[in-house]
Symmetry: C2
Subunit: 240 residues, 2 copies
């Protein structure tokens, strides 16, 4: 179920003269699946309005002539349908969940070790996330494992990478100083957006923790209880 007021808040935003873009680090599902879930919750959202790591990675792969070995969740595989994966010359790693078996990790490792110039692209670098069953390892730890094994550094696609925020801004033709990021992750959402020159509000929902308001490195431009309150704030400023 959506947080109270969020469906209506998105609708109000889209009726305003503001431009809206949805930025997610979701990399277990395709945009189609993600948008389907959100629409069933009542949100007015379409695939074309979403900036997500998998399509961003596909663009990088095409631009640089990279053919990936994919260590990813089956749910996101369809995003790579148009990508040549024969004779791989890089590895793309995403939150693969149960597919992070020893065998799959070792195969990715072996591909990297056979390359003269090993390229590892990671969809996000989150440490973990919370499910009803408890905390779950995200892609970050596995990215670090391959970095250490191969003596390389991964290229991260997704929040808080500046390129990722820039591609979201480009998609709607908005300058960073005109944009406001709204998110629940003090580092990935707020810190990342601010480093790009955007302002950022943190919502006190999802992965928000009270200690975030005294974070040693990142200070949001504002803290709001939820998305509805964030949209109230934005629309007040627009009306002025």
């Amino acid at each position: 179920m959506a947080i109270a007021g969020s469906v209506e808040a998105v609708a109000r935003l889209k009726r305003s003269r503001l431009k809206v873009r949805f930025c997610t680090n979701e990399s277990q599902k395709s945009r189609a699946e993600l948008v389907g879930q959100l629409r069933r919750l009542g949100f007015d959202i379409s695939e074309g309005e979403v900036t997500a790591p998998a399509p961003a990675a596909c663009q990088i792969l095409k631009e640089r002539g990279l053919r990936p070995h994919l260590l990813i969740h089956d749910g996101v595989r369809s995003e790579f349908d148009q990508i040549d994966t024969s004779n791989p010359n890089c590895v793309v790693i995403a939150d693969a969940g149960e597919s992070f078996s020893y065998q799959n990790m070792n195969s990715a490792f072996q591909v990297l070790m056979e390359l003269e110039n090993p390229v590892l692209i990671s969809l996000g670098k989150g440490r973990y996330y919370k499910e009803t069953s408890g905390l779950m390892l995200d892609v970050g730890p596995y990215m670090k494992a391959l970095e250490y094994a191969c003596g390389i550094r991964a290229e991260v696609v997704g929040k808080p990478s500046p390129e990722f925020f820039k591609s979201a801004l480009q998609a709607i033709g908005v300058e960073a100083h005109q944009a406001v990021m709204i998110g629940d992750d003090i580092v990935g959402d707020v810190g990342g957006a601010q480093r790009c020159g955007m302002r950022a509000l943190q919502v006190r929902t999802g992965k928000f923790r009270p200690s975030d308001e005294h974070h040693p490195e990142v200070k949001a431009d504002g803290y709001v209880d939820n998305l509805a309150e964030a949209v109230d704030l934005l629309l007040q400023h627009v009306d002025k």
Copy 2:
């Protein structure tokens, strides 16, 4: 099969007045199994002569009242028979091979995250090793994954940890400056021993690579073609 001359070299060492200790980072098998394999190859070696990470870790666990959650290979589990693993207050990770499943990694991660003061003990920190089927991920990458996931640093038991070399020296009552380490790993064997005040010879067998003789950080006190040549050298010095 043993490298030519090695069985006889060990026999000559043990007939001399030198004290001998075998230091291994093997953490997939128990000492009993390792020694059994070596004896079948003809080596004169007994369990009591071996310094290995698992028994060293057991001593640390006992001294500090730690009850481990074990993420290890079944082959080494017998080394922990005397250890209380109920209600764990630390994690011990070793080269677990196929047992490095997502589920097992996540269980270890969850144990660490529930501890107020998470302790992670790693048996070695090797990046990878070579098998006939190709390169295989060692414990190091998985140690790094848990370090990143939990925001902690692991305690490494095994070469090149100084405590590990010291416990080997203690076991035979020899001072570091009197001892010579012989090994094939320029960093783990040679560098580690030297940092403890020992001298160290590198053998040009096993994981030796020609570039080791120009290593940017570690310079062995001598390079020899194999164990037999190392023992020749030692015994010449003893006779003088």
